[in-house]
Amino acid sequence: MSDTVSAENDAPPVDPNAVAITVNGTPITAQKGELVIAAAERAGVYIPRFCYHPRMSSVGMCRQCMVEIDTGRGPMLQPSCMITVTPDMKVETDSPVAKRAQEGILELLLANHPLDCPVCDKGGECPLQDQAYTHGPGESRYVEAKRNYEKPIPISDHVLLDRERCILCDRCTRFADEVAGDKLIHFIHRGNLTQVNTFPDEPFASYFSGNVVQICPVGALTAKPYRFKARPWDLAQVESTCTTCSVGCRISVHSSRDQVLRHQGVDTGTDSVNWGWLCDRGRFNFEAIDADARLGEPLVRTESGHQPTTWAGALALAKQLIDGADSIGLIGGARSTNEGAFAWARLADALGIDHRDAQLGDGLPASVLGLPRATIDEAANATTVVLVGPDLKEELPVLYLRLRATAEQRRLRIIEVSPASTGMTRYAWRTVAYRPGSPSEVTKALGAADIAEQLAKGDVVVVAGRSNLAESETTAMSVLSAVLAAVPDAKILPALRRGNVVGALELGLAPTDSDHDALATLRRAADGSLDLLVLLGADPLDDCPDTDLARRALAGAGRIISIDTFPSASTRHADLVLPAASFAEQSGTTTNLEGRVTRVTQKVTAHGTSRPDWMIASELAALLGHDIGFASPEAGTALIARTVPAFAAATPAALDEHPAGVVTGPVTGALPAASSADAPPNGYDYRLVVSRKLYDGAVNTAMSPSLAPLAVGAAAHLHPADFDKVGLAEGTEVTLTSTTGSVVLPLHPNANVARGTVWAPFNQPGATVNELVDASAPVTDVRIERLS
């Protein structure tokens, strides 16, 4: 080392934050402000603990982390999760006094904790069980009867509580308060009677409720989808990345007997996207992987409907369909891995397919990905976030958690631009409520003195997406332009929802311009001038905001090939359906909204004969006389790194070294000029706002028995004050009519909806609200009439 250091630098630089302390006689270097328990752990000394959690504030509830600390006044017993390091501190974690204290606490915790480990789900991975062995006294002096409670009681749709097992560590209640912001569970009563519980008849209905099961240090909180399904020692696990939405949370996938049984959040440390947290949708939608409805073999359309066929026959037919087509459109790819999207992009290049898009007319122009991009960490630690996009709590829940955390601490100011109140509104510094279709109103509001002053402080991140699917992307783009004009060095975090949409767009499935995007492709199909439409994990009928267009397109397309995991409204129209391997059934990489590339890992055998997207592309290419250039996901990852400049850093070796992922750089591009023309009102009274809820008709949610019942159902939500205007009572069935169609929906009062607008959740069971949307119009206006 020393010979590489130049002469004037021979003294190593002194870290101003370094604090020298001694743990069990060994000198270690801690960081200023670090807790003793954390510093000791970094140095390899584990101090037993139950309540301490590195991502939440310390409370010193359980007293298990007692150690002897000497700061010059002699050794004293202190809880090491409450004491920060000071220079020359001496810590003894297993001196006789410290051990006696730790054993005493464990004996007390076990005074009431039942020893039902053999029938407890946590047994085998239980911090209390483990630490009773490693740090406990081995025997108890208590002979008295233990506490009994009615067991178990449900505290939410997913979580059950066995109160007699609870050791009152405050982890779940702290999580609900500090992290989720849903303070729906609390300590009730006092002393020996203290218990965690909800308010009567008011369940812990948090989108993040599953996390409390993961952080519970005993078996008090268990999740219904996993309860009594397996023992921890029978589970095999791999680390992977959740692809339910584009946040890309790191997870570990646990399976037993070739069946995925649960997902747990993984905290990859300093560069972690999700800090170990997951939303309930991502945590529990593994149930869809082995749902009965999965497509297990290729289907070909015959006169008597879809008939199963062999892969050889199916691929030969696909070749025939492709050879016979002069014009081909390719929609989808956001469900694929990077390798799947890349393989299909290369196949599309070889076949000269111009019409291609990984979005469905519900995102932003792919050119936004060329702008300087922020990471989630940068957004959460920015001075200002301008949020013009979906309700993050509903669409990108863990991004919501990350931004909420710093906004709540008043370290971040969020300026929200939204046509309706969202989950983030409560934490926003300013909310610009605008009427859909009036971007000039928004840009004017952003020019207000206080907002301009805030933006002038610099360090601005724009979180941009679509806040309203019944409105064109004009508002989002004009806000983006306005903020970039005011703050030229602002960064952008694209709030596009689909799992690997960023990867698919950047790896070649982005349209060259708006004349070749998904809507243009569908229009061309509807005109009858598209010979073949390839749907790569896309279901335009349910997922495109303009159902009418999708329906005409599927009817008008010459032929349709659908590659999907489940039968959908759109696969029913396909001439050929190829079954695709789903999440946890294939390996590869995925790209999240930051541009972070992480590995996804196969854990179970693919359902039936389903194959990964890249393999289907590869075999099809071979039949057609082309070559996609790789024959395994690993080779695909390497090829992407070699040939796509933005992904140059995401080599297989780099991904092995950084489990938290490699953030890829954006390719510089220019933002298209945004039109800020306002949409004039037409003869209809109410402007329509359509946005997604966390639980909707998305296939992996609808196919998970635990999640499907949580979909709110289709409805028209109106501000309570507007009820008088329409003269109708709550719950009335009404007809909403727009220029393109009409749907029947029940009418609900909702104070979060702005007056003069009607809000309807997208893709909900009950009715198809997208019937109302005309994707070519800037906004959608509707009329509300009583169903006669």
């Binding site: 729906l184 609390h186 909800t198 308010f199």
Partner: protein, 203 residues
């Protein structure tokens, strides 16, 4: 139905205005709801939660920590008989037996007419005056069986109405600060200087 009445909502708003953070008014408001209904009802907790912008679970969790908040229907008069050392030595148990016999209910329950709730209590800080009891937290000292009977008669006949408010908690001793004399509390997040009693030496 057992949400706060309009008059009490007005009072609640005045109480909330005294604190820089709404949440600080939680306990006074739960007292207020108990004064109104005799005990803390679920509807009242929901109402208080709305008023101070927290969740009902937080209200329930906070309120259930405190012994003086009751969550079961309670009589107009709550009689607490002390059973701690001095009172126990001077006949508290006999007094409790007598009370149970006279009222015809066990400790911890309420007379069928909903007038009196009887319960055990710990030390009431008047050991020199043992045995003691409290009626709606108003002390009675050196209580004999006869005293108890007289007390119950007086309560039933309404003789003590002026002295002992119904559903009484200590919250009856309520301060009222005229607007022009209120100092105005500063939100903790807005405090930039140190406390006035601490001299801050220039660094």
């Amino acid at each position: 139905m057992s949400r706060l009445t309009d008059a009490n909502v007005a009072l609640a708003r005045e109480i909330i205005a005294r604190y820089p953070k709404k949440k600080s008014a939680l306990i006074p408001l739960v007292h207020l709801s108990q004064e109104q209904n005799g005990y803390v009802t679920e509807d009242a907790m929901r109402h208080v939660a709305e008023l101070v912008d927290v969740t009902p679970a937080e209200v329930y969790g906070t309120a259930s920590f405190y012994e003086m908040f009751r969550f079961e229907p309670t009589g107009k008069y709550l009689i607490n008989i002390c059973g701690t050392m001095s009172c126990a030595l001077l006949g508290a148990h006999e007094l409790m037996h007598h009370a149970e016999h006279t009222l015809g209910v066990k400790a911890g329950s309420t007379t069928p007419d909903g007038l009196i709730t009887l319960q055990h209590a710990e030390c009431q800080a008047a050991c020199t005056e043992a045995p003691t009891l409290q009626v709606n937290y108003r002390h009675r000292y050196r209580v004999t069986a006869d005293d108890f009977d007289h007390l119950v008669d007086d309560l039933r006949s309404g003789k003590l109405d002026s002295e002992i408010p119904p559903h009484g908690t200590l919250g009856r001793n309520r301060q009222h600060i005229p607007v022009d004399r209120a100092v105005g509390a500063v939100h903790p997040d807005d405090v930039t200087s140190g406390p006035v009693w601490l001299e801050v030496s220039p660094s």
